[in-house]
Point group: C2
Chain length 220, copies 2
DNA sequence: CATATATTCAATTAATATCGATAGTAATAG
DNA sequence: CTATTACTATCGATATTAATTGAATATATG
């Protein structure tokens, strides 16, 4: 805790919010609930953490007022509070991290042998092309996340079903793939697969939560 | 540290950046060096921390690549890296904190019995009124911070000299006061003093670093 | 070399993450 | 209505990590 001035006390409160972001598991949880509300066990399974640990992390997010549960029967469904602001904060963190921590760039480049090749389409460009009808919009997240909310007109082929679907896919259109957010790898891999099959494919820069936070229309 | 996927590793890096923000002393240090570069001892004096502790905190900021020193003789002068992004991150943190942590509002209201009365002037409005020449711009930070950089046309009367200066102050103009940033209390107190003396005074919302980060012109 | 300044070290204290077990709390089966 | 089931939260214990201080070390100046 703190001390004298009101300034110190305010900084302490802001520091608590930052502390809630200061753990990779919590960032992962935030990315997940940014897709839509999720119960504790669900989050535990997806993150590979124990339920007790997941619950503990959720309490931390709750105390920092970043996330909030509502009861639905036996479950507690967690979601972001003030989605727009929280997502903006995560985006600002990513931007600083990306610019400052060269390691992040390195990981991206190592893992995907050519991140540059997997060009990102900005939201504005996608909007135009959706209007013009010159693009197929592909959501490669798991089906249940798709069900919780999606970009308008998107079709859902989860990444693990993409290979199977590629056979029957007719592609006179360019494909734009999206997933959970800037560090979700699903869309990267999807674009790589699509290109191997000769499809002209691109990633949407950012993912569903950022789209929604930008006030753009969503379905679901 | 972490584990398997590249995603986990990226989140770990972002978490390190967040961890660097997760301490009130470091937030205070960041606010100070956002005014301009500062040596370690200087920061220690201003924050009331020991030099060793200040240095330690600066190393944390350095590792997170939020701040960076340059040598100047015997001193190491620290400043922000990528000012614009870092200030945007701090602003996003403040916005979430302010909206989510009701306590912050409460502190502001308790300390200043009427925060609302101390209306904040947005940057755009100030720009217009500066152009029109209908406003006196007052920088109430310490003289050395003023020397490091300031808004164009501002006059400097540090808060602790304001009472003395009030006698000789002729005020046919509205006064807009600014200081270090949204949680710096100097401008609040200045506006309160000015109003007691019958001057029509307002605070600039945010402070010098945010002005500079917005790409607006500065002097110095 | 003596001085001023900054960093690092060693040691203490405090906070956080994690796990396994236990204790709520709400739906539902009887 | 009660007992059971299915989740979630909390507690106690341990391991890890962070903050702070005072002393020691390093780095530049003159």
């Amino acid at each position: 805790m703190s001390s004298n001035g009101p300034k110190q006390r305010i900084f302490s409160h802001l520091a608590e919010v930052a502390a809630a972001l200061a753990h990779s598991h919590r960032l992962e949880i935030l990315e997940l609930i940014a897709q839509g509300e999720r119960c504790v066990e669900d989050l535990a399974v997806r993150t590979g953490l124990s339920v007790a640990n997941t619950s503990r992390h959720l309490q931390v997010l709750r105390r920092a007022r970043l996330a909030e549960p509502r009861r639905a029967g036996k479950r507690m469904l967690y979601s972001l509070i003030c989605e727009t602001e929280v997502i903006a904060l995560l985006a600002a963190l990513s931007r600083v991290g990306e610019r400052n921590v060269a390691e992040i760039e390195r990981i991206m480049k190592t893992y995907f042998h050519s991140r540059d090749a997997l060009e990102a389409v900005p939201r504005g460009v996608l909007l135009e092309r959706l209007h013009a009808g010159t693009v197929t919009l592909l959501d490669v997240r798991p089906a249940d996340e798709f069900a919780l909310g999606r970009l308008p007109g998107a079709i859902n082929i989860p990444l693990d079903q993409l290979d199977a679907a590629l056979g029957g896919l007719t592609t006179d259109h360019t494909v734009v793939a999206y997933c959970r957010g800037p560090y979700c790898l699903l869309s990267f891999e999807a674009v790589a697969k699509l290109r191997l099959h000769g499809v002209e494919a691109y990633r949407l820069e950012d993912g569903y939560p950022e789209w929604k936070a930008a006030g753009l229309p969503v379905e679901g």
